[in-house]
């Protein structure tokens, strides 16, 4: 089913969902959420909506008053809390799954929501990934520092590692949580999960393989980024073009993010299409 189809236009669930998606995209943009999270949110929105385009879910018309009450209660709680939304407020990440759940409760019985859990699971990816950020960063900050130091010394750039700080030529970088690569790793893995829910791979082993590949690619690219940051740290805040400032800024980080996504998605594509080949062979 396509967006232009008459059924879609006449189905209130779909245009309500579209409304929520656009409202959420606007709020994330308005409250200056990072580029990575905005792109992840676009992928989530696409993932959720594709379920309603691919499959025409049958929605029960005769919902009882209790389900309608729950829906409006949840909606009013979310809207009340949203009054205090501001830049840096983590509630922004819960907004979409909350609104989506309240919408589902209005259109489908609870059994139906549980049965068709996949789109709701996709909508939860952003808050889950935000919740995992700190625990993962605790692990990846020292690991990233160590591997960057190792790479620098391997290439003959004599550097010193002290905790999560790397010193090179009297300058140093501090590998904080945002530099640890956890954000990008969660971003790539989330993309793999969404892709797998929309285009399921043959088995769980293949899915775990794509997750592992996405992780290794993203982690390695972040090490290369930290390696370059350490080499160009002397250009920080210098007049004119500073390689350090560029690589450290959002646009520099996005280049590495896009590279890791491109490689991860390519690996997913290859593994996904091996399914078709094997099916043909089996036939």
């Amino acid at each position: 089913m396509r967006l232009s189809d008459r059924k879609l236009i006449l189905n209130p669930l779909k245009y309500s969902l579209l409304f929520i998606i656009f409202l959420n995209i606007y709020i994330l943009y308005k409250f200056k959420i990072s580029e990575f999270n905005q792109i992840l949110n676009l992928m989530i929105s696409w993932g959720v909506f594709s379920f309603y385009c691919e499959k025409n879910y049958k929605n029960k018309e005769n919902l009882n008053i209790l389900e309608i009450s729950y829906s409006f209660l949840l909606l009013s709680m979310i809207l009340y809390r949203s009054l205090w939304l501001h830049v840096g407020d983590n509630f922004i990440f819960i907004l979409f799954p909350g609104l989506y759940l309240s919408l589902l409760m209005l259109f489908s019985p609870i059994d139906n929501i549980i049965k068709n859990y996949k789109p709701f699971l996709i909508s939860l990816i952003l808050p889950i990934s935000k919740g995992l950020f700190i625990p993962l960063s605790i692990i990846f900050s020292p690991l990233s520092s160590f591997f960057t130091w190792l790479l620098l010394n391997t290439f003959g750039f004599s550097s010193v590692l002290k905790g999560q700080e790397i010193f090179y030529n009297n300058f140093g970088i501090n590998v904080t949580f945002s530099c640890s690569g956890s954000g990008q790793i969660l971003f790539s893995i989330s993309a793999m999960i969404i892709l797998n829910l929309c285009f399921p791979l043959r088995n769980l082993r293949l899915f775990l393989l794509t997750v592992l590949i996405a992780f290794l690619i993203t982690f390695s690219l972040n090490i290369i980024r930290l390696f370059l940051l350490t080499l160009f740290v002397h250009t920080v805040n210098s007049d004119g073009f500073s390689m350090f400032d560029y690589l450290h800024s959002g646009s520099g980080g996005l280049i590495f993010g896009f590279l890791s996504m491109a490689f991860s998605c390519e690996s997913f594509k290859r593994l996904y299409f091996t399914k078709d080949i094997s099916n043909e062979i089996n036939k």
Binding site: S82, L83, H86, S137, V175
Partner: protein
């Protein structure tokens, strides 16, 4: 049955109304009414219109109130009334960009802190003063924590969760930004600070 189906349209209607309400009537931190006292032999005053500073609230968690320019025999003191939704949001970094203050150097006195910087080639000091005893440039001036400091991150995690689900409702924190070329101003005694700044206002 038909009545129930209408709830589905009500849902969309509520969201639309809310979006409009949110754009035009979003709550912002409250500001107390602040007035300047009558003539003072030591100080000359100008109203907000004659200010050399123009500050705009960068986000809805900060409200910018009135501003005043006070002068004594030697120095000028620019006062800008600010209100934050909570003390943790206090950070005057947005002023550096808006007022083009360069070369920021943070100074700490006991549990307070202020910033030194250059404004139009002149050395200035500035901080947000709750009272003569409590002033901060930023409430979160800390050393970058170690990634393996599990207890610290546990606290951050729980605090963030609480903000989302429980203690989101704001408690207003109002303070007065004092910008002055008197770089030793924040090292003055409480009495001196009150005399120069706080005694000149009527709080309602």
């Amino acid at each position: 049955m038909r009545l129930i189906s209408k709830f589905k349209y009500l849902y969309l209607f509520i969201l639309t109304i809310y979006a409009v309400f949110f754009v035009f009537f979003r709550p912002i931190p409250k500001l107390k009414s602040l007035l300047i006292k009558g003539s003072n032999t030591e100080l000359s005053k100008q109203n907000a219109k004659n200010n050399m500073y123009d500050v705009i609230s960068p986000t809805n968690k900060i409200s910018v109130g009135k501003s005043f320019l006070l002068k004594d025999n030697k120095y000028w003191y620019q006062i800008i009334q600010l209100s934050f939704w909570r003390e943790d949001y206090l950070n005057l970094q947005f002023l550096n960009k808006q007022l083009n203050i360069n070369g920021i150097n943070i100074q700490t006195i006991k549990s307070n802190n202020y910033a030194l910087g250059t404004f139009h080639g002149e050395e200035i000091a500035f901080s947000c003063m709750k009272n003569s005893d409590e002033f901060q440039y930023s409430s979160s001036l800390r050393k970058v924590p170690e990634s393996l400091d599990i207890n610290h991150w546990k606290k951050v995690y729980i605090y963030n969760l609480k903000l989302v689900f429980y203690s989101f409702k704001p408690r207003n924190y109002e303070c007065y930004v004092v910008i002055t070329p008197n770089t030793n101003f924040f090292e003055n005694s409480k009495f001196e600070i009150n005399k120069k700044i706080f005694n000149n206002f009527i709080y309602e």
